[in-house]
Symmetry: C2
């Protein structure tokens, strides 16, 4: 079996973990059609009842952004709403292929992107609600594309060489090697779960973050917060791995409980361009000041496009010595970069990270400290010298991270 | 400008002839994504208000046919009906890219294909009604794919060579050469229109077909029949070329007016396989007997899948010395093969080929002799020795074709 075949099998059978009689939706760029077809075949072999492919194409999206008239943006159509309703009603599980050219939307009018993203997020909301509350099994995994590989491996002698290096890096990060990837993933899940247990055991009231770059903030965690790692059980009863690769252990901050300043440690791909060297200052959970070395206007867009995008919805721990981090590769892709670094997310919190959220309205969730928003945007804050101190309800201080790695 | 760029420009600006403020839907296989993107760009440059791409993929369709459970076939969904309604209501014009592997569905259970085609045709009917009555502008054009090129140029030394030969053949057939393709097409349209005028001038009651292969039948034409060739004016007021390439001059037989036997002169690609050496015997317009040297069961499917698929809906004249015919290439693709040969079609007649059809119901159209069906399947009957005699209402006999070419 080739590594590619192993990877596809792992994504379908461990990642989204498709079971007999289940339905699967594959969202895949047209340039990676071979991957979608292999995954479809694998899902049927696992007993899937139906596999649909939704084709994506960022290259024609770019042409549309550059050449279509203004009237073309921010539209929603009844048929697209019906499609989302169909996927929700029929309980489709989701496999998303993340394979973007990080700079595909460079030079595009951000107003246009903003309008489309807003309309798209609203339209997709019923589906995203099901996904973010783990009502269905879902996975995001990556496949190299030429533009992406060239950006990441810009020193490679040819685009073929860059693609080869990218595949090797993806296999390594995804634990596809000479062993059975199922065994590899079982061991990895067990290791992350041991961190979850330690963090849950302390039931911290606060976390304090500090490093030499200037990051210095305190974050209150909601009462009844839950630390999670990969290997979650969906409402379907089946365990799935939401992100491949994954190194993170995460929960949500209380939406009004963060105070202080944080410096990003990696560029953020946003609207097809890079926001670099940026910082955010929080007062009672809300961003009150911010700055960026490059594309500050995009950072402003990010904070203002959707309601509550200026509050946090995730805090995730990733050791600086994790294999993806140690590879030293800057991926320009959240799926990979977030698994090389401690990170926060602006916007929506996963309802599964707090007890007692089931059946709660958006207003009630916000009141519980579980931030509700149409967006969820990760950004990286990990560094080799990051310190994280946990403070318990009885005032005990526990080192969680020392020098960028777990101390717990 | 490269020949590919010229070809794209011609397909968009002469073929579908997109005008400022119009909307365009491009149906394109994912394996030809570059072509869809080029056409999108060209349409926006021509002033299109919106360009949508509907991605097709016969390779994943094959996987679905082979591996999905029975429950998966013949379904229709509300969201797909809503999409069709949207395209109809918004007046989208259509560019379809025809690029099939002729044998992609080889070995697939014909029952499954039949179920899907039936459900698909019913779902698409509102859109196909608009297309076949020229309410919108539309074009079908081809782009080579590796499997198709290998089938057509099976002697080529490599797949790259086969693709190159295929492109050259497509450019030649589509009149893309060193001249301005718009001038080439204007001259071609004028030539075909001169044949239309001659045929209209005679207002034949009957046509009689005969050749040495055994073809021998008489065909009554409906009162008020109209001969058409490319360069039709849509209800939008704009002239379009429905097929690129096109060599045909066509009308519809009266649905109950054909008697005798016809022998096919080329294989017919149907359900992803080839029906070869087949014949049909008609009594009062209906097929009462048939046979085939290969895949006779598929011919049976063709005749029985949809109501009225066993009546004729088109008769088209193509001279044996037309350039596509003279190339000697067997294309295994109706768009090309039909333009190398006189042909008939089983199933739906174009309402535009008979006067006074506007606003008529299906029952009324059938009664007028304009056959109504969910299918329209061309098959080739031209040969080097084909004779066609036209018989006028006052009994005058006029040679229309002698030795496979126009005598009129």
């Amino acid at each position: 079996m080739t590594k590619l075949e192993k990877y596809v099998k792992m994504v379908v059978n461990v990642g989204v973990n498709i079971q007999p009689g289940q339905k699967l939706m594959i969202r895949c760029p047209v340039d990676c059609a071979y991957f979608a077809r292999m995954a479809m075949e694998e899902a049927y072999k696992a007993g899937a009842e139906d596999v649909m492919i939704q084709w994506m194409d960022e290259k024609s999206a770019r042409i549309n952004y550059l050449l279509a008239p203004d009237s073309n943006f921010g539209k929603d159509t009844q048929w697209e709403k019906e499609r989302v309703k169909y996927l929700v009603d029929e309980g489709y599980n989701m496999l998303s292929v993340s394979a973007s050219d990080p700079e595909i939307l460079k030079g595009v009018d951000p107003e246009r992107i903003q309008k489309n993203q807003k309309a798209g997020s609203l339209m997709m909301k019923p589906l995203m609600d099901k996904v973010s509350s783990s009502q269905v099994q879902w996975t995001i995994a990556s496949v190299p594309t030429e533009a992406w590989a060239r950006k990441v491996f810009s020193d490679a002698s040819s685009v073929e060489k860059a693609m080869e290096m990218m595949w090797d890096a993806i296999y390594a990060a995804s634990r596809v090697d000479d062993n059975d990837p199922v065994d590899n993933w079982n061991a990895h899940v067990a290791n992350l779960q041991s961190k979850v247990e330690a963090l849950m055991g302390h039931n911290f009231e606060y976390l304090r973050f500090k490093n030499a770059l200037g990051t210095d903030f305190t974050m209150r965690l909601p009462q009844g917060h839950i630390w999670l790692a990969c290997g979650e059980k969906a409402a379907t009863g089946n365990v799935f791995i939401a992100n491949i690769p994954t190194e993170e252990v995460f929960t949500t901050p209380h939406r009004t409980g963060t105070n202080g300043i944080v410096y990003a440690t990696k560029p953020l791909v946003y609207m097809g361009d890079l926001i670099e060297d940026f910082w955010l200052k929080f007062v009672d959970g809300r961003v009150v000041e911010s700055g960026a070395g490059r594309n500050r206007h995009l950072l402003e867009k990010l904070l203002t496009t959707h309601e509550n995008a200026d509050y946090l919805g995730e805090v995730a721990l990733v050791p600086h010595d994790s294999p993806i981090s140690q590879s030293g590769i800057l991926w320009y892709n959240t799926l990979y970069d977030e698994n090389a670094s401690c990170h926060l997310a602006l916007g929506r919190a996963y309802a599964t990270t707090v007890q007692g959220t089931e059946g709660k309205s958006e207003e009630e969730l916000n009141a519980m400290g579980v931030n509700q928003s149409l967006t969820h945007e990760d950004f990286m804050i990990g560094s080799a010298d990051l310190e994280i101190i946990g403070v318990t309800y009885d005032g005990k201080e526990v080192p969680v991270f020392v020098n960028g790695n777990y101390a717990i």
